[in-house]
Amino acid sequence: MSNEDFKPKIVVFACNWCTYAAVDLAGTSRMQYPANVRVIRVMCSGRVDPQFVLEAFHNGADGVIVAGCHPPTDCHYISGNIKALRRYTLFKRLLKSLGIEEERFRLEWISASEASKWVKVVNEMVETVKKLGPLKPKLEVVE
């Protein structure tokens, strides 16, 4: 597949209060960004079980973003973002050993007013993933 044809899919888990609202704001502000992202809304970044991220990669996500409110104090639920930080700090260590380039995953803090940060993160992610190419498929181990 040539780079031209490669349309990466980026799965985003966005908290309802900060990042989802920032994505909305990017919309109301008519900012333009690549159409490669699919946002899944959760109430809090603390809800985003690393299992979902693994599931996304397993199904062919070329990149995954988990995004929530800025630590330490912005979380609508006091400390859900801290729970996300704890999990994904460790998660990043695993990814590479599991055979996935670490750049394919990002943990981001995007507040409700940071529509431009959202756009920047998406642009960067799409660019990075396009450079990396599609997630390498596994060989058919058993024909």
């Binding site: 693994l54 260590r93 599991l98």
Partner: protein, 342 residues
């Protein structure tokens, strides 16, 4: 007289522990021998592949398969056994999820082979012999060249259900005699849960049967993680509460908390509970959630204490996990060579 159920037993990439657990049934073995006919069991009795081939399809009531799938030979055999058996059971952690040998999936097959045959300090292999598909050997004494054909290793180790349909799973590394016994009873009585279920164990985590559960504070937050060799844990007190990375909360119960009773934290050999998407991902989520720091540098200091997170979180589960390792991304060059020596 009604015919006794026919039972088969096959080993793939196995350490022998699973077979041992069968023997550990001790006097209960006699009951088993009374109740069933063993039609295939290469570890203990002399059967050949052709004995199985001769059996009508579906004539074996139940076949237990232990060990992971690493060789072409394993694939061939389990496919055959699948055809001949009504019920196939993945026996033990390796067969169910890949087990400890499955950690080899962190590496390409060639990395595994060259490590194993060339690099490990204990190896003495000046001729660089390595198992290859075709190996030509000159036998000097008779001045003859023979060609050896070995089953190829697969690019990655697979759990049984990635190769054939599996009806039930019996967890453990190895399964405990009790778990095996529970499963056998269910099988003999025909009281079987829906296909795909785990037999013989609980659908609650180990904490449920852990004798230390009552000593566990309701709330646990850890500032540090300790490895078993670093501390002598206080007896009779929840190991997690003492900072040991115990995987009991995320691991299926049913083993009787054997390790805990020996003052060792659970390493997860009974695998995940039903409905868990990825054992390691869940284990990570649980343990990271209770590390009591709020910024990356502090968290990393704690995470640095464990040198091999994949080995801890995916000790028995890597090949069944959502991502696996990098095994299977590249084709092997080493074993496709034609090697000549002698």
């Amino acid at each position: 007289m009604s015919e006794k159920p026919k039972v088969g037993w096959y080993w793939c990439a196995s350490c022998g522990g699973c077979e041992e657990s069968f023997v550990d049934l001790a006097e209960r073995l006699l009951t088993v021998f009374d109740a069933v006919d063993i039609v295939f069991c290469p570890v203990a009795m002399d059967f050949k592949k052709e004995d199985v081939e001769k059996l009508p399809d579906g004539s074996i009531t139940v076949t237990f398969i232990n060990g992971g799938i690493r060789l072409e030979e394993h694939v061939e055999m389990v496919k055959l056994l699948r055809r001949k058996s009504k019920i196939v059971i993945a026996y033990g952690a390796c067969s169910a999820w890949g087990g400890i040998p499955g950690l080899a999936n962190l590496y390409d097959l060639d990395e595994v082979l060259s490590r194993k045959y060339f690099e490990v300090p204990s190896i003495d292999n000046p001729d660089k012999v390595v198992p290859c598909k075709i190996t030509k050997v000159k036998l000097k004494e008779v001045d003859e060249e023979i060609e050896l054909e070995l089953p190829k290793a697969l690019p990655a180790l697979l759990p049984l259900d990635k190769v054939i349909e599996v009806d039930y799973y019996i967890p453990g590394c190895p399964p405990t005699p009790d778990v095996f016994w529970n499963a056998l009873e269910a099988l003999l009585k025909g009281e079987l849960p829906p296909k795909g279920s785990v037999l013989g164990a609980l659908n609650k985590s180990l904490c449920d049967e852990c004798p230390l559960n009552e000593t566990k504070p309701d709330k646990i937050l850890l500032k540090d993680l300790k490895r078993p060799h670093e501390v002598i844990p206080e007896e009779g007190k929840c190991l997690l509460a003492q900072g040991l990375l115990c995987l009991g909360p995320v691991t299926r119960g049913g083993c009787g908390a054997l390790c805990i009773k020996a003052n060792m934290p659970c390493t997860g050999c009974f695998g995940p509970l039903d409905n868990i998407i990825d054992y390691g991902g869940k284990a990570l989520s649980y343990i990271a959630s209770i590390i009591d720091f709020e910024d990356e540098p502090d968290l990393n200091k704690v995470y640095d204490k464990i040198p091999d997170w994949v080995g801890i979180l995916y000790r028995y589960y890597l090949p069944a996990s959502k991502i696996g390792g990098k095994a299977g991304l590249k084709k092997s060059k080493i074993q496709d060579r034609v090697v000549e020596y002698g």
